[in-house]
Amino acid sequence: MADQAMKSLGSVLARQGILVAFILFMVSFTLWNPRFIDIDNVFGVIRSSAILGIMALGVTFVVIGGNLDLSVGSMLSFSAIVVLDLHENPAFGPALAIPAMFAMTLCLGAINGFLIGYLRLNSLIVTLGMLSAIHGLTLTYSGGQNMDIANQNETWFDVFGRGEALGIPVPVLIFLLLAAFLGIVLAKTPFGRKVYAVGGNGTAATFSGIPRARVVFMTYLISAFCVATAGLIQASRTMGAQNTVGQGMELEVLAAVILGGASLLGGSGTIFKTVIGVLILGFIQNGLLLAGLEFYVQFVVTWIIIILAVWLDIATKRGKLWSPIA
């Protein structure tokens, strides 16, 4: 009996290990400094994680579908620059700038999706190429200049990044709503099921009459949509942007998704777990700051946590701690 109990505890730990780790982390930090779970502090953390988090939601779809998206960082720069530029363009204004930016960003996602879904090219290299190409596109578009909104007091554009609704910061609201929506899409709709099937075993999915190419294509559109949303918040928050605002974020986003427990082989992961992954990164950073450490200590902590998390996951699956490689 006790054996049975240990076993099931073990399997819960294996499946929900990251959640358990998160709770332990939160509790111990709160005991040490009660300010940690102060509501303002919590909102502050979620708010600063919102942009990364929203991007991670889209990348979760791509990764569960069995692919990678390394282009989200430069796509973020692109969308922020474009929306700011169009905002300043009298022919557009904020009301038209936003849908136009979304359309353009979705086009980039469609290119990714076409090349990877329909042409079956390797997603790592395609999105690496797109990382570079979109960066070039952004620089060409902006002429290498940073973008700023000239009359910051005369626009409602700052609402996405700086506004509050129902006492909740708008970026947090968008992040949570989008997470809920995409979480339901992934967990409850036929499309979500197909994403898991395609990532879990693409051949078996094809043999089951699932349009693999279209499903992969859609995951990249979702990823691009999330990036566009994140770009809007980024631009709105700072009311200006550098060409390189998203540089390097692709790998941080991926780290959050992996930390949440999605396998790079595809077919596993959930939106909820990704949100946990994002929050862990956010709260670690916050906790370390409250402890008086510099923000960059979090990088080192993240490194150790990612490797431990994936290692334990693999080790429980193979039943051995160390790899059998000779």
Binding site: V126, G136, A255, E294, V300, W303
Partner: protein, 333 residues
């Protein structure tokens, strides 16, 4: 059989053909359309090109080895920065300052040692935990960058030593030190991959890991050696570059891993491992640098270089797949 050999020739020659086309194009475009008043295929220009491609080039050579072996290393940019910081900062240590110029080689050693250790850490983790190298080095990319910041906060680290600068700018036959280091690395690693047992085993492991294991090749130690090598080369790249510049920013080296991978893939190395060549990567590195310079030469916006390289990378992938298609009998999955 003939057909296969021909395909191989086309694949291996493609990057050099591309370089020649670039040379001709930029020369012709510059001269005949009067977009530039100077010649493009100018000796000084080409020598400079080699020097400019050295920092990423040296790293790309290491990346080739790791990728042939069937792994990848995303942490090289951070390793590069950390090695640079160690080198410059160590020159400020009291006992090193007391040594005067004699401290220079010691500083280099410290840097190279740092790089090798960082590579060793990655390699051992990949070997012993069995976690995919992509994830291990993705984590290390963040972790090593964290170490970079912890070293000196967000401030640049500098130390200007004129002897070191002179050394970095010394030249033989017009080739400055970074270019010479790059060429030496290409030669040595090329010899390693084509002539030594370790190099050949690295190919075998990347090509067919099961066959290698069955043949009694110890996969783990080979993986570790290659990670140590790429860490060492990232540090060597830092030594070659920062000896001259004398100042490291904590953000230096970001995206180097992606540029290096781009050069390696352009040079024909297979992502899954087992195929690739050092000379091909040299071609990939030169092609990228040539594009960068060439677009500047004809007065095009240098910013478009990213756009062009990204497009070419995807096009290469597409063509490669078309070459490998099996035709009508293929299963549609």
């Amino acid at each position: 059989m003939q057909n296969e050999t021909l395909k191989r020739l086309i694949k291996n020659g493609a990057i050099w053909a591309f370089i020649v086309i670039q040379l001709v194009f930029f020369e012709v475009a510059g001269r005949w359309w009067s977009l530039s008043d100077s010649a493009f295929m100018d000796l000084d220009n080409m020598l400079l090109l080699l020097k400019q491609s050295a920092p990423i080039g040296i790293i790309a050579i290491g990346m080739t080895v790791v990728m042939i072996n069937g792994n990848i290393d995303l942490s090289v940019g951070a390793t590069y920065a950390l090695a640079g910081i160690v080198m410059l900062d160590s020159m400020n240590w009291p006992f090193m300052e007391a040594m005067g110029d004699a401290a220079i080689p010691l500083a280099w050693l410290f840097a190279l040692f740092t790089g090798a250790i960082l590579g060793l850490i990655n390699g051992v983790i990949v070997w012993k935990t069995g976690v995919d190298a992509f994830i291990v080095t993705l984590g290390a990319m963040l972790g090593y960058r964290g170490l970079v910041f912890m070293y000196n906060g967000e401030n640049p680290t500098y130390h200007l030593n004129w002897t070191m600068v002179d050394f970095a700018e010394a030249d033989i036959l017009g080739l400055q030190t970074p270019a010479l280091v790059f060429i030496a690395v290409v030669l040595i690693v090329w010899l390693m991959m084509t002539r030594t047992v370790h190099g050949r085993n690295a190919y075998a492991i990347g090509d067919n890991r099961e066959a290698a294991v069955n043949a009694g090749i110890r996969v783990g130690p080979h993986i570790v050696v290659n990670f140590v090598l790429i860490g060492f080369l990232a540090a060597l790249s830092a030594v070659a570059f920062y000896s001259g510049s004398g100042s490291v920013n904590p953000n230096d080296g970001m995206l180097f891993e992606l540029w290096a991978i781009t050069a390696v893939v352009l040079g024909g190395t297979k992502l899954a491992g087992g195929r690739g060549s050092i000379i091909g990567t040299l071609g990939g590195v030169i092609a990228i640098q040539l594009l960068r310079k060439g677009l500047g030469h004809i007065g095009a916006d240098t910013e478009t270089v990213n756009l062009v390289i990204g497009t070419i990378l995807i096009a290469v992938l597409f063509l490669d797949r078309q070459l490998n298609r099996k035709g009508a009998e293929e299963l549609k999955v």
